[in-house]
Amino acid sequence: MGKFWEKDWIKRLLKNKAAVVGLIIVLLLSFTAIFAPVLAPYDPIKDGSLQNRLKAPSSEHLLGTDKLGRDILSRIIFGARISVEIGVISVGLALIVGTLMGLTAGYYGGFLDSILMRIVDIILAFPSILLAIAITSVLGPSLNNAMIAVGIVMVPSFARVVRSTVLSLKEMEFVEAARAVGANDFTILFRHILPNSMAPIIVQGTMNIGTAILDAAGLSFLGLGAQPPTPEWGAMLVDARELLVKAPWVAFFPGLAIMLTVLGFNLLGDGLRDALDPRLKQ
């Protein structure tokens, strides 16, 4: 993999049309999340008036209203904040824990490696969404617990990627040189090996943000994640099935928002992987 601070990969990334589309979607999502209070035409939480319930899309409510008369567009705009929060927190959690596990397992090897990798195997022995469902059902339904659950099931992906990178890096001369000048394990791991493992971690992180948003939306849809009246996109679909005939827009737009966001992160993740590791593309 290339080094992420070398600028060549940015040029390669920007030449990839699909990746640019992904980047634009991700930037739009971030913009919407930051400026949600300015962009949203209505209050996303407060119930609307009785006459405003289940209104079809119109010039007044571009994406229609839900069964409590709330403007769906405003709820989707505020939902972007929650999606960003889910992506950052759950992937951040998985990234920190997984990277530490991978660094330790790969660098020290032996018994520690066996133990850590068996833990990874055990987590991977469960279908991921099912494990996340089990964790949230135990911890109790809430957005925070959903983020923790999604984070836990993503730990193995980081641990494995980092471990395999460390295994190859620790044999390199620069690590040997650092050791020769008396650097301790901590310095070698965090100042020499970790910075050189950033490219695969970033690719994995980007890809996982999409998955995290998807899984958290699924948990909310099952009632295990964000609770009403939080405008989380998955939670917005909870009542949608009963309303499909009467008000299909209640189901359509939040799902579309999830799909586009996840697509954006997947496109960007694919592009980053190709840009940071040109060998893979061939």
Partner: protein
């Protein structure tokens, strides 16, 4: 071959202990007192004591785990707090519906995924390639429950072509043999009921199969592209073999191994995805059973079902690993 299988089985032992320990611990991770959480704060002390005894919470932790393992080995997953039925018995009732749904989803995913992947690779950079790969990427980005809702809206409500929920219309009843309705209806010779069961199966299977389909299509394409560049493909063409023969016999056969890995891995995803799909389509399978148990805080059911699904998942992965060695003998010697 036998050595390889024995080695894989031995490697499985710590994982099996890990799975059972993790699922055993689930109930202990409940913040606060599990009995209060399950029964609510207003339950009588007698009922609380009874449940504490039923869940074995009075024993020390290691004893509880040993008892859990012992029961598991004897096929005892405990009893549902709500129905008081044995969890294993209930699982056995709901399992065939999930098997039928999962197999149908995998069938659609494999057939369409491989076909699309092969055509996309053969016609690289054509409109079909671009369109199918965009479709595949969209497919993996879609929330499965939303896709389900959209399919119900379009095909059941707007067009009225297919039923929106359940496994069979009320007017049909089929004698239960395998509890797989497609097979049972055929065994009964009831053609109309077969068509009805098939119609009920299509939408949920499509919803559940879309993500694996997309992943299989992408994997088949990239694997085929790699194989199509090999010398032996040029040789096959040079000796005058027809293009269909070159692609299907020489290329696809060699491109299949990574695709098989993906197919194996997707089974686990399908078992998890079944929770969403079955909830959306009111499909009476294990997924919906788990969902209802979670909503009712029926932890023995959640614990038992998840243990069984994880064990099945591990078993499927083992079978897939062994299948590799049949397809590609090189793996045995690694």
């Amino acid at each position: 071959m036998v050595n390889y299988i024995v080695r894989r089985l031995l490697q499985l032992i710590p994982v099996l202990f890990g799975i059972t320990f993790l699922t055993f611990m689930l109930i202990h991770f409940i913040p606060g007192d599990p009995v209060t959480v399950i029964l609510g704060e207003h339950a009588s002390p007698e009922r609380a004591a009874e449940l504490r005894e039923q869940l074995g919470l009075n024993d020390p932790l290691y004893k509880q785990y040993l008892k859990f393992l012992n029961n598991l080995l004897h096929g005892d997953l405990g009893r549902s707090i709500i129905t008081h039925e044995k969890v294993l018995k209930e699982l056995a009732t709901f399992f065939p519906a999930t098997v039928e749904l999962t197999l149908a989803a995998m069938f659609i995913a494999t057939v369409v995924g491989i076909a699309a992947g092969v055509v996309a690779a053969v016609k690289q950079y054509s409109w079909f390639d671009n369109l199918s790969m965009l479709g595949a990427l969209t497919g993996v980005s879609m929330p499965i429950f939303w896709l389900g809702l959209m399919l119900i809206y379009l095909f059941a409500q707007v067009l009225g072509w297919l039923p929106p929920s359940a496994r069979l219309s009320i007017e049909y009843s089929v004698p239960t043999v395998t509890n797989l309705y497609l097979i049972d209806t055929l065994l009964a010779g009831n053609w109309a009921a077969f068509k009805d069961a098939l119609a009920h199966l299509i939408l949920p299977a499509l919803a559940l199969g879309t993500i694996p389909m997309s992943i299989i299509a992408r994997m088949t394409r990239s694997s085929m592209l790699e194989v199509l560049r090999q010398d032996y493909i040029r040789t096959a063409r040079a000796k005058g073999l027809g293009e269909a023969m070159v692609i299907l016999k020489h290329a696809l056969k060699n491109a299949f191994l990574p695709v098989l890995t993906v197919i194996g891995l997707q089974f686990g995803y399908l078992l998890g995805g079944a929770v969403m799909t079955e909830t959306v389509f009111s499909w009476p399978g294990v997924g919906r059973y788990i969902y209802q148990a979670i909503m009712a805080r029926d932890f023995p059911v959640v614990q038992g079902s998840i243990t069984i699904i994880a064990l099945i998942f591990v078993l499927i992965n083992l079978i897939v690993d062994i299948l590799y060695t049949v397809i590609d003998p090189r793996i045995r010697y690694q």
